[in-house]
């Protein structure tokens, strides 16, 4: 039997036979989908209503908000500013009174997994998370932070056709 013939027979033989999961999966998945659909519809209706806000008022509010925001932002060290990533928690450059219990970042389109790396200011790796399917991770209690120290964190993300990273972002723990 030549190699091509073996390959085609093997491919045919190994093609997974149609098989259904337990019917309980149908209930769990479809219930979750129904719930999500309802949530999305509510959000959609709510965002539609926002269109009734006159554009001029919205624009004026926007200008005021940007003005206020720019006056309350502390100056940031450019070397510590995140390269991208939109809103993150803790926000980059923040000074925290207690160690962070969790890190949040924005979902990246097409990403199926995220991994966070936490470093000290001298770039030593303090902790690396397992792959997370969500755009946040909880910090285990075993991670030790020092008061007054600055930390950096980055997030690597990956999907079927994309990969990239967010950050570095920084935060500092108050001296006490």
């Amino acid at each position: 039997m030549n190699s091509d013939h073996f390959e085609s027979r093997a491919r045919e033989a190994l093609r997974p036979a149609a098989e259904s999961p337990d019917p309980r999966q149908d209930r769990v998945v479809l219930d979750a989908a129904r719930e999500a659909a309802a949530e999305i519809q509510v959000r959609r209706r709510s965002s539609r209503r926002q269109w009734w806000v006159p554009a001029s008022v919205a624009a004026a509010l926007g200008v005021v908000a940007i003005g206020l925001w720019s006056t309350v932002q502390p100056p940031e060290d450019d070397t510590l500013r995140g390269s991208s990533g939109g809103s993150v928690v803790p926000s980059s450059g923040a000074t925290l009174s207690t160690p962070p219990e969790r890190f949040d970042w924005e979902d990246q389109s097409g990403a199926t997994g995220y991994r966070l790396t936490l470093r000290t200011a001298d770039a030593r790796v303090l902790w690396q998370s397992q792959t997370s399917y969500d755009s946040h991770v909880e910090v285990p209690q075993s991670v030790r932070f020092a008061n007054g120290a600055t930390y950096l964190w980055t997030v690597q993300y990956e999907g079927p056709v994309i990969s990239g990273s967010l950050g570095p972002f920084s935060f500092r723990l108050a001296a006490n």
């Binding site: 033989a13 999961p21 149908d26 999907g159």
Partner: protein
Amino acid sequence: MTSGNDATLMLRFQEEGDYSAFEALYQRHRDALFAFVMSLAGHRAIAEDVSQHAWLRLIDVARRGSYAARSGVAFQTYLFTLARNHFVDQYRRKFDAVRTDSLDETQIEERAHDDAHEDLIGRLDASQLAGELREALNTLPFEQREVITLWACGFDLEAMSAMTGAPPDTVLSRKKYALGRLRHALRRLIREREES
């Protein structure tokens, strides 16, 4: 039944909260995804968990509005990647602990020329061959087993590369050695049966 291509249905669910669009997607891919995971895991309970997790994760992606139809990847590849990643993260170590077979490349090349049992392989009927191959598949290292499973599901090289995160050349190489190992394992199984 709601119609439309996969990406359109997913976007209708994500953007409009169209439940029937999701239901159509689910009916369309439920069994194929489960069969794929069954082949990968070889264990029904694990396949149930991985398959359900992938669907729930997909719903979460839609809820966050982060599914991108123009990211260049087919919906099915995206869905299967969610399942594959969960399986790798949660179960691969356990699987690796029980796999046993080992055969270096030289042995494969040498034995590829051993025709003693080729005719017997050729004479196996489809169901016998499937049974023997599945048993042999379970002995492969995970990376090779995964590529063969995706290949048998009909994914092309580009999709296999995207899903496994391995370059196309690596995927081709894994497939080549996996087929060599399958051939060898098949001959060994047949020989053992003849001798017993």
